[in-house]
């Protein structure tokens, strides 16, 4: 196979007023024709920038500082914009992360696809173009292509729009497709469908592609080779089975341990501590050192070079250096490593073993010793968690809740339809459902943001929907129940300092600060959620997504609530941040003992956090049971689909490829 794309020592920088951001640093890799390369890493590691810099779609402040790019043997590094226009679409195309914003809202989908066809085939007749549009729409599996092609993006769902974007990308049959987190912004059940579609199309057209994702399990499903990126560098690159079965870089270890599926039965999810550095003045030495428990002294001094492991497998870590041989540092146990190394057990068995493992949650609780040994946990708690909470008193009782939104004079939207459930004291109840299933509306009804059309919500013995009862107990309810919103970005006033944001509920309820001043109280809670008190005088705009959510949690907890509603608090974060947040919730809940209604759209995180889970579908609560029960015996078809959509590592494929000795 010939090299389709070759990138050598590429460095890309952004010139900003705050300084030079080195988004991509000295990156080299190749892609052969027909091959799928996955680029994996946390948000802010430069994966997207890398793709866009190859396509030259970056804004003017970005520049390629060094390195060369070859496409089909031709050096395109110095191509001018005009030359690049001829290449884009025809030789390489790209699918973007957010299908909701990437289509032009005022052009019909068909017109946008047709445009992509006509650019590269100016002579094509109108009729032929129309035919081709329909053909493309069929290829990406859009039903009723004739009608759909006349519709505007606003009429299509997210998954449908992503299919259209893919159709546009495929219009001129490019040799190389870049897919920049194409499933991240979609619902879980849709994610799986789109991922399947990608694999199918890729196989059908024998197209090479570069698949960017923050989720290792997605990479395992889609890719031939995997490159792990951190802080603008590729830290490990190799064939998919090499990366999964024999990872060498501590960052790869961290990413793998953070996969919910591999933490199996552990009581606590593993998460890499801290977050990726900002790339203005990147740290000296290995950028990962300050999050790396295996960091060597030299990591803080010198950037490690790429060490070859095999002909196709490279990793940039000093652990592979001759001098580090004596340290005997091995990768942590991922559960299948031993089997993988011997290669004796058939792959199928391997996979089933893994699934079984994740089921038996209680038993394997002590697998990852370091992370899971929590002495704080009392035996009684453990007992309560595994058993159904039968006799604990009920803190929140939702009875036949229904809420209807008027869309226009005639149409209405029944967002919540006859939903009943209870939350017990000290319990974590999960509420799952795709976007638009009414979970957020339930949360808002409970928090009295919306007044439900019918039904009862009894919060600590007080009927929230009864105006009179609500008025008399308003203070109590508002201080003892707190909510955390999905979009932490919007729920923090951009013009207030963090200190004032955390102190707002205390000031509203005139709570006497237990630690002297309000500021001290705010500082205490900020530290409690794992943030530095130096942030007290900052504004929300300097915080990252995860940090903002932490501030929102601190604000909610500062009132010592008996009951907390968390409305998709992790949805907008990437996997490693999600794990951090879930751990934080779990830890705080154990320490403070509040009840938690945790709303999410996928099961992966919920299973580690919740005692019981309710599943919502189209406004109805279709199933509610303990986590164990739900995963073992999902009853409702939608629940079954949800359980199936949890990304699993494709061990069949990895195992087969390994045996073939590719």
């Amino acid at each position: 196979m010939s090299e389709l794309l070759e990138v050598r020592n590429l460095s890309v920088s952004f010139d900003t007023p705050a300084g030079e951001i080195q988004a991509v640093r000295d990156v080299s890799f190749t892609v052969k024709a027909g091959e799928v390369l996955a680029i994996v890493g946390e948000t802010g590691c430069g994966k997207s920038v890398l793709c866009k810099s190859i396509l030259r779609l970056l804004p003017d402040i970005a520049r390629i500082k060094a390195g060369r790019i070859w496409l089909n043997g031709a050096d395109i590094t110095d191509y001018r914009e005009r030359d690049m226009c001829g290449l884009r679409g025809r030789f390489f195309a790209m699918v973007f992360q957010n299908p909701m914003t990437v289509l032009n809202p005022s052009l019909s989908v068909g017109a946008q696809i047709a445009e992509a066809i006509k650019i590269h085939r100016p002579g094509m007749s109108g009729q032929a173009v129309d035919q081709r549009v329909l053909e493309l729409l069929r290829m990406v599996k859009i039903d009723h292509p004739e009608e759909r092609s006349r519709q505007y993006p606003g009429h299509l769902s997210g998954g449908m729009r992503q299919r259209c974007v893919l159709a546009i990308a495929l219009a001129a049959e490019p040799a190389l497709l870049f897919a920049d987190e194409p499933t991240t912004a979609l619902d879980v059940t849709i994610q799986a469908q789109i991922l399947d579609l990608f694999r199918e199309v890729q196989a059908k057209l024998h197209m090479a592609s570069i698949f960017v994702t923050h989720d290792l399990s997605v990479a395992a499903m889609a890719a031939d080779r995997v490159a792990v990126m951190y802080a603008g560098r590729i830290v490990e690159i190799g064939r998919v089975e090499e990366i999964f079965l024999d990872p060498r870089h501590p960052y790869t270890w961290g990413l793998m341990r953070a996969l919910p599926i591999l933490s199996g039965g552990c009581r606590r999810l593993y998460s890499i501590p801290g977050m990726p550095p900002t790339l203005i003045n990147p740290p000296k030495g290995d950028a990962f050192a300050c999050r790396n428990e295996y960091a060597l002294d030299i990591d803080y001094e010198e950037q490690p070079p790429m060490f070859p492991v095999t002909d196709t497998h490279f990793a940039a870590t000093w652990l592979l250096d001759e001098r580090a041989k004596g340290l005997e540092i091995k990768a942590p146990d991922f559960g299948w490593r031993d089997a993988g190394e011997t290669g004796a057990k058939p792959a199928a068995e391997l996979g089933s073993r893994l699934v079984k493992q994740t089921d038996e949650s209680a038993e394997s609780g002590s697998r990852l010793v370091k992370q899971t040994d929590e002495s704080v946990e009392s035996g009684s708690r453990l007992l309560k968690r595994t058993d159904e909470p039968v006799e604990s008193d009920i803190i929140l009782d939702v009875q036949h809740l229904t809420h209807i939104f008027p869309l226009s004079k005639k149409e209405t939207l029944t967002a919540v339809d006859d939903v009943s459930f209870q939350v017990h004291r000290g319990e974590i109840l999960g509420l799952i459902g795709e976007s638009g299933s009414g979970k957020s509306t339930v949360a808002r009804c409970i928090m009295n943001v919306y007044r439900p059309v019918s039904g009862k919500i009894i919060n600590q013995g007080i009927d929230v929907c009864d105006t009179k009862a609500f008025r008399t107990h308003k203070k109590l309810l508002q201080s003892s129940g707190q909510i955390i919103f999905q979009d932490a970005d919007a729920s923090l006033n951009p013009r207030k300092k963090i200190c004032d944001i955390i102190a707002e509920p205390m000031k509203l309820h005139r709570v006497k600060p237990r630690r002297g001043t309000v500021r001290a109280e705010a500082a205490f809670w900020l530290q409690r959620v794992g943030m530095d008190t130096a942030y007290l005088d900052q504004y929300p705009c300097v915080l990252s997504g995860g940090q903002r959510q932490r501030v929102a949690i601190a604000r909610a907890l500062s009132m010592k609530p008996a009951f907390l509603v968390a409305d998709e608090p992790v949805a907008s974060l990437d996997v490693s941040m999600q794990a951090q947040m879930v751990n934080l919730f779990k830890q705080l809940q154990e320490e403070l003992g509040f009840s938690l209604l945790f709303i999410a759209h996928d099961l992966a995180m919920v299973r580690f956090l919740c005692d019981r889970v309710g599943v919502m579908h189209r406004g109805k609560l279709v199933e509610i049971s303990s986590v164990k029960e739900l995963f073992r015996h999902p009853k409702h078809p939608y629940t079954r689909r949800l359980v199936e959509s949890i990304p699993t590592l494709d061990f069949d494929r990895i195992g087969q490829e390994r045996r073939r000795g590719r």
Partner: protein, 335 residues
């Protein structure tokens, strides 16, 4: 595809229009009658001040000024339905005739001005967006801000001072030289100064609007997709961004009619240009009631219909306004 719903909407619009015109006529009628001032002065000129009491009474009876305001209004309304709007006190002619003689001039000045503003603003806005933050853009923005700050009347005075008084290149007033009513070149010469004032004082406001809207569009993600297809920057700017801005621009331009019209009125007065502007000004100052009524109604009708046009345009053309019904329920919260 005319169905019941379209007819309903149409009827609604017509009713709204008629209602607005009615309210406007009441407002203008009562306010102008309540204003102090002697309408007889405009009819009889200097003579009115020397009239005896009987003569005054006779004159007021003749002009129907004796009755109460309500009676006067109803009488005006009845006549208006028959198409009679009374006579102008000052010109002693039917008001429709007075206006008919002048409206052409205003339409020429306002119409050409409007078209020029529309086209030039578009071109300038696109140029600035294309050259964002580069020298050309910055220069145009600076100059534009200054020109948009100059009051119309002073700009007119300054231009007259320079081009008419000092340089003597162009005439300073009127629509044509006496005796050259049908001379096109002469008319054009008279039109240059007022027209440039109308254009210069409004141009930047709209060009700046286009520029800012385009800069917003250029930051949208769909630009990336369009470029990924292989479109070059110019094609993306004109074919996608500008296209998305146009509905907003159309409705803005419809809304701008009253401003341009108001500007024209001022310019007309300064240049003593025989159009409706000068006429309105005179009739308001000299209590020429019938003329004022019809002029206000005319202006109001143009403005109201332009506003309605703007609303319809932005509702119909822009599919973004029609979509995402689901999102709307976010707005319904409990107050």
């Amino acid at each position: 595809m005319i169905n019941k719903r379209h007819i309903e909407v149409l009827i609604q619009k017509v009713l709204f229009f008629l209602g607005s015109v009615f309210v406007l006529s009441v407002l203008v009628f009562y306010v102008s009658r309540l204003a102090p001032g002697d309408p007889l002065v405009s009819y009889y000129g200097e003579r009115a001040e020397k009239m005896s009491a009987e003569e005054r009474e006779w004159a007021e009876n003749k002009l129907g000024l004796k009755d109460s305001i309500h009676v006067q209004y109803i009488r005006w309304l009845q006549n208006a339905f028959r198409g009679e709007f009374g006579i102008s006190y000052k010109y002693k002619m039917d008001v429709t005739e007075v206006i008919g003689g002048r409206i052409g001039n205003t339409l020429i000045l306002g119409g050409i001005g409007f078209i020029l503003i529309f086209v030039l603003a578009l071109a300038l806005g696109v140029l600035c967006a294309w050259q964002e933050d580069k020298l050309a853009d910055r220069m145009i923005c600076k100059v534009g801000t200054i020109t948009s700050c100059i009051p119309e009347f002073w700009l007119s005075l300054a231009l007259i001072l320079i081009f008419a008084a000092a340089l003597r290149w162009l005439p300073s007033s009127g629509a044509y030289s006496i005796g050259k009513e049908n001379n096109l070149a002469d008319r054009v010469r008279h039109l240059i100064l007022p027209l440039s004032v109308v254009v210069i004082s409004h141009l930047w406001y709209y060009a700046y609007m286009i520029r800012n809207k385009l800069l917003e569009e250029v930051r949208a993600e769909y630009v990336l997709l369009a470029r990924m297809k292989g479109l070059c920057k110019r094609q993306v700017l004109l074919g996608h961004c500008l296209r998305n801005v146009m509905p907003a621009y159309f409705s803005l331009m419809a809304l701008s009619v009253p401003h341009v019209l108001g500007g024209t009125y001022i310019v007309e007065t300064v240049f003593s240009y025989p159009g409706i502007g000068t006429l309105t000004y005179e009739s308001a100052r000299y209590q020429d009631y019938n003329l004022l009524m019809l002029l206000s109604l005319l202006t109001g009708m143009i403005v109201i219909s332009c506003n309605m046009l703007a609303r319809t345009v932005s509702e119909r053309i822009d599919p973004r306004l029609r979509m995402d019904d689901r999102r709307r329920y976010e707005e319904v919260d409990r107050s």
